[in-house]
């Protein structure tokens, strides 16, 4: 009798311990959101005891790993096509929004002063504009004395989501670019030099007089790079600032977009920064590890709260608009199911 009670007590204790036991969940993919995922992960572990292991291996790697189900979630900057999502049984949802800026190395040019347009950027990277005192640039910048120096375009040599976003923008603003080069995580650049990673592009631009490159905004602001203004779709010249990224994010058509693949490149809003894009997470709709899948969803729902948003903003990421968060939560409940068809969350 006594023994049974004792056993019962142990069983109850084990059960309780079981429910309170830490659930570790694994993610892999894009390097662009890695800093914020890791900061979120650290804070989340402090709060709940559940640890996130995130490996920053690149968007392509993230897609590969989640298709093979070797991780609990994959992360990708590039949108996965609908057919591929369907065949791999994945739910795609955005987490934070990032932006890409242009950085230059020109004597006497201060940050956020030089005005460029998308068409000029495309012509620079097509090799059509080769001097900084080209009429197209001087016309926009009557107050800046531009040298008769060679323009040296610098690009990311490693294939990256940043390149996909940047070339996606050039595709939008230049028909010539679209037909000659196109958009992908790496492309065949007609001119210029390639450097590895944001730090490689920054270093090469800094080394090269007359250099121009593109980097993620979080990287540019953390390193105080000389960035340029860009003309947006509304025709206004805007400097890369958080308000402009938010305006672009808010103007995107999230409701109409399938798989949350809302485009905010060259957004029409009055003060929108033109090169803005969300980064995505891919979650299996038929999770093998139900616990980890539930924890992943809980984690991101927490990350969308005020507490998570503050961490993201401190690292210069733009949190998602509130109505998009609601859509994501609905998608979680409707789409992620256990084998017997019940919602995981």
């Amino acid at each position: 009798m006594k023994l049974t009670t004792a056993l019962g007590a142990i069983a109850v204790a084990t059960l309780m311990a079981g429910s309170a036991q830490a659930v570790d969940f694994n993610g892999a993919g894009a390097s662009f959101p890695a800093p914020v995922y890791q900061s979120w992960g650290a804070k989340y572990k402090e709060k709940t005891g559940n640890a996130l292991n995130y490996q920053s291996i690149g968007s392509g790697g993230g897609q590969n790993q989640i298709i093979n189900r070797t991780v609990d979630f994959g992360a990708s900057d590039a949108v996965m096509p609908s057919e591929k999502l369907a065949s791999a049984k994945l739910l795609q949802f955005p987490t934070v929004i990032g932006s890409v800026v242009a950085t230059v190395n020109l004597e006497g040019v201060e940050t956020k002063k030089l005005k460029l347009t998308g068409a000029i950027l495309a012509d620079i990277y097509l090799g059509k504009i080769t001097k900084w005192d080209d009429a197209a640039i001087t016309k926009l910048n009557p107050d800046i004395k531009l040298p008769s120096q060679a323009v040296v375009p610098v690009y990311r040599s490693d294939s990256s989501g940043t390149t996909a976003i940047f070339t996606g923008y050039l595709n939008e603003v230049s028909a010539d670019w679209k037909s000659k080069v196109g958009s992908a995580t790496s492309v065949q650049w007609p001119v210029g030099a390639g450097a590895k990673g944001n730090e490689g592009v920054t270093g090469t631009v800094k080394n090269t007089k007359g250099g121009i490159g593109y980097v993620e905004y979080i990287y540019a602001s953390a390193n105080n790079l000389v960035v340029t203004q860009l003309q947006n779709k509304a025709g206004k010249f805007v400097a890369p600032e958080v308000a402009g990224f938010q305006a672009a994010a808010a103007s995107a058509d999230w409701k109409g977009a399938k798989d949350f693949a809302a485009s905010m490149i060259n957004a029409p809003a009055e003060n929108a920064w033109p090169i803005v894009s969300p980064t995505y997470v891919l979650l299996p709709k038929d999770p093998k590890n139900i616990e980890a899948s539930r924890e992943t969803m809980k984690f991101f729902l927490w990350a969308y709260t005020k507490e998570g948003a503050e961490i993201a903003e401190k690292l210069h990421y733009i949190p998602l608009p509130a109505d998009v968060v609601k859509q994501v939560e609905e998608a979680f409940k409707a789409e992620i199911k256990t084998p017997d068809g019940k919602p995981v969350l």
Binding site: G60, S159, S186, A193, G194, N207
Partner: protein
């Protein structure tokens, strides 16, 4: 020593008939293990080659043999060719050997003939330490130190002077980016220098002193002895050393990726950014989805690099052998 053994054995020597033939069992086992080790290497190499070839086969089937001489690498249109990378790999490796060779000759001869004993060790160790520096460090050093130096002081004057000469000027044309073929070749030269030097030193030290002394005795200068005695004596081994250096330069990845400029365009200029097979694989691999044409093309590139390395090695063997005959 003998005394101790005697005491341990109690002063008595055991009769030989009691000894066991332990080797009868252990020796075959040992020999079998040795065989296994040898076969293992062959098997491993064979499997790697087979795996690379099978992995790259879809690319070869898709593009045909044109893959090898197409100067196109376009991930957007999924059109891939290996010519730019093959050219970049060979070009940068040849620059490296051309730069490293005279230096290695100089260091090796200095160490074996001229150097006072007191300096011999420090210089020898310094050369060996060059080999111990991880390649990523060379990459960072190249990127942060050599590339700005090239862009500021080396390339602009060369472009303005030699770059204006017809035909030869092609080698020195283009904007002074700092990165490019020449910079990659220079970094590679520093990286292969210790290997070539070490083998040269070994070769020169094996030259019989009598030969050298005789040469000095008939009135040869230091240079003449080096040129007519030491080098001919060690020529075969030296060719082997150069080929090994070349082999290492062909496959170097990280350091090259940092400084070569990573452009998939064909250019004759020493200053133009280019790409090698290894740097392209390092750059593109993370974003190459499983089953994509890009991944198979990268594997095919890997196979081509393997073949190039194999040819270089075979060539060095053949050269060495022909000299021996």
């Amino acid at each position: 020593m003998d005394a101790t053994m005697d005491t341990r054995g109690g002063g008595q020597i055991e009769p030989i008939t009691k000894a066991k033939a332990t080797g009868a069992v252990s020796d075959p086992i040992f020999i079998a293990l040795l065989w296994a080790s040898g076969i293992f290497v062959l098997l491993l190499l064979g499997l790697i080659i087979a795996q690379l070839f099978m992995g790259g086969l879809p690319a070869l089937q898709h593009f045909g043999l044109d893959f090898i001489w197409t100067a196109n690498w376009n991930p957007v249109t999924e059109n891939y060719g290996a010519l730019v990378m093959i050219y970049g790999t060979l070009f940068s490796a040849v620059i490296a050997v051309v730069v490293a060779l005279p230096l290695s000759f100089g260091i090796a001869f200095f160490l074996t003939e001229i150097c006072p004993q007191a300096f011999k060790r420090p210089i020898g160790v310094a050369v060996q330490l060059l080999a111990a520096v991880p390649s990523i460090i060379y990459g960072m050093w190249g990127f942060f130190v050599i590339v700005p130096l090239m862009a500021a002081y080396v390339q602009p004057p060369l472009i303005e002077t030699l770059g204006q000469v017809p035909i030869l000027g092609l080698l020195f044309s283009g904007p002074p980016l700092g990165s490019g073929m020449l910079t990659a070749g220079l970094i590679l030269a520093v990286m292969i220098l210790p290997f070539i030097t070490a083998m040269f030193v070994e070769t020169l030290e094996s030259v019989p002193p009598m030969l050298k002394e005789s040469a000095y005795g008939v009135g040869g200068t230091t240079y003449e002895v080096y040129k007519n005695v030491s080098i001919p004596y060690g020529r075969t081994a030296m060719v082997g050393a150069i080929m090994l250096g070349l082999g290492r330069a062909l496959g170097e990845t990280m350091a090259v990726t940092f400084v070569i400029g990573n452009a998939t365009r064909l250019s004759a200029s020493l200053f133009a950014p280019g790409a090698t097979i290894a740097s392209t694989i390092a750059n593109e691999f993370p974003e190459a989805p499983i089953g994509s044409l890009k991944l198979t093309s990268l594997l095919q590139l890997g196979f081509i690099l393997f073949v190039i390395s194999f040819i270089v090695l075979a060539l060095s063997r053949a050269l060495v052998r022909s000299r021996l005959d």
